[in-house]
Amino acid sequence: MLGTEKQPKSINFLEAVYSPNDIWSSAYLWLTEVGKYLLIFVEVVVLGVFFSRFILDRQNNDLTEQVNSQVILLSNDNWKKNAILFENYQNLFSDIRKVRMEQNINSLVISELISGIPSSLNLESFSYNGNRVSFQISASSLETITNYETALKNNSDYYDVKFSINKDSTEINVVVSFGLISSADSK
């Protein structure tokens, strides 16, 4: 009975010359046509990576050894102490520079204040407290005091100028106080 069935007499050009119908044959066909190239590509990449790891690992290990030896060298007690000492000096130099550059020279301010008092006025007492000045003066004429008051009030370096005048039988006593605008404030 086998092979005796009557086959349809037709030529089907749409059918492939060889087209496997079972799954294993299809898988074999796929593996030989596409899969092998995929596997070759992956193997090439993996092998490339595998060999490059030799180089990279060696480089990495060398660097680790180098870093470890540097750390051991720096962990030495003498080096540690020196590092702290030099850092201290560096901070100190930076502070000295700051102090030298930033702080005001107040002796100049005091000199200007004292020399600014007119000779016709007698200085009785003087007090300078950083940004505030007060002093007591005496004079025989009110005009001198008024002129001095005007001069102080017109000076842009001073603020809150206060004059307290007491007149005695012979002389006039004045308590003067004002604030100083420091160079830092004026900036």
Partner: protein, 205 residues
């Protein structure tokens, strides 16, 4: 004629829904699946490893360079320190770390007597003023108060000389009354801002 028509429709159907077309779809889908699996399980881990090692190498190179720079800097500083150790030891006297203001005291004494003043009292205190605005790391301000007797005319010179000392002191307050004592001298009260270091191991590590 009828038979011919049926065949044409069947052929079109065969072209549209042919098992070959279905198979090629499966073929393509399977290829994409395998490619994705290879990318996920074979390529990705190896590329990740390489990236990780490269990153480690970069980090270690940077670390090694910075350590090398530190070693070189320390070596250079050691040489410089050895060359100027004598000069640097003077800093300990100028900005004391143990509260020993002996150099400042002796300098003040000489400045005061040079300007014709006599020192009647001197004391140190914590700084409570508002004039110090610098953000220093190690130098801390202290207040030095002095009671002096002398002539008013010499005051400005005395203040200038005091501020010219190597400790960079600053006049914080000055007060005096022009009333003179029996010796024809005026009493002055001056306070200075001086600096010290509050770490007694600062110079001796």
């Amino acid at each position: 004629m009828e038979e011919k028509n049926i065949n044409t429709v069947e052929y079109i159907k065969m072209v549209k829904e042919s098992p070959e077309k279905k198979r090629s779809y499966i073929y393509l889908g399977f290829t994409i699946l395998i490619t994705a699996l290879l990318i996920i399980f074979a390529l990705r881990p190896t590329i990740t490893v390489i990236t990780r090692i490269n990153k480690e190498i970069k980090e270690k190179t940077a670390l090694s360079k910075s350590l090398e720079t530190k070693i070189q800097t320390l070596s250079t500083l050691e040489k410089q320190y050895a060359d100027s150790e004598k000069d640097l030891s003077n800093l300990e006297l100028i900005f004391p770390a143990d509260g020993n203001f002996s150099l400042l005291m002796s300098n003040i004494d000489s400045v005061v007597s040079r300007n014709g003043f006599a020192l009647s009292s001197i004391n140190f205190d914590d700084y409570k003023g508002e004039l110090f605005a610098s953000s220093t790391n190690v130098l801390l301000p202290k207040t030095l108060r002095m009671g002096l007797k002398g002539k008013e005319i010499n005051l400005v010179n005395l203040l200038r000389d005091l501020e010219a000392l190597p400790m960079y002191p600053v006049i914080e307050t000055v007060s005096y009354s022009t009333q003179k004592d029996k010796e024809d001298l005026v009493s002055f009260s001056i306070s200075l801002r001086v600096y010290d270091i509050e770490n007694d191991k600062f110079y001796k590590q």
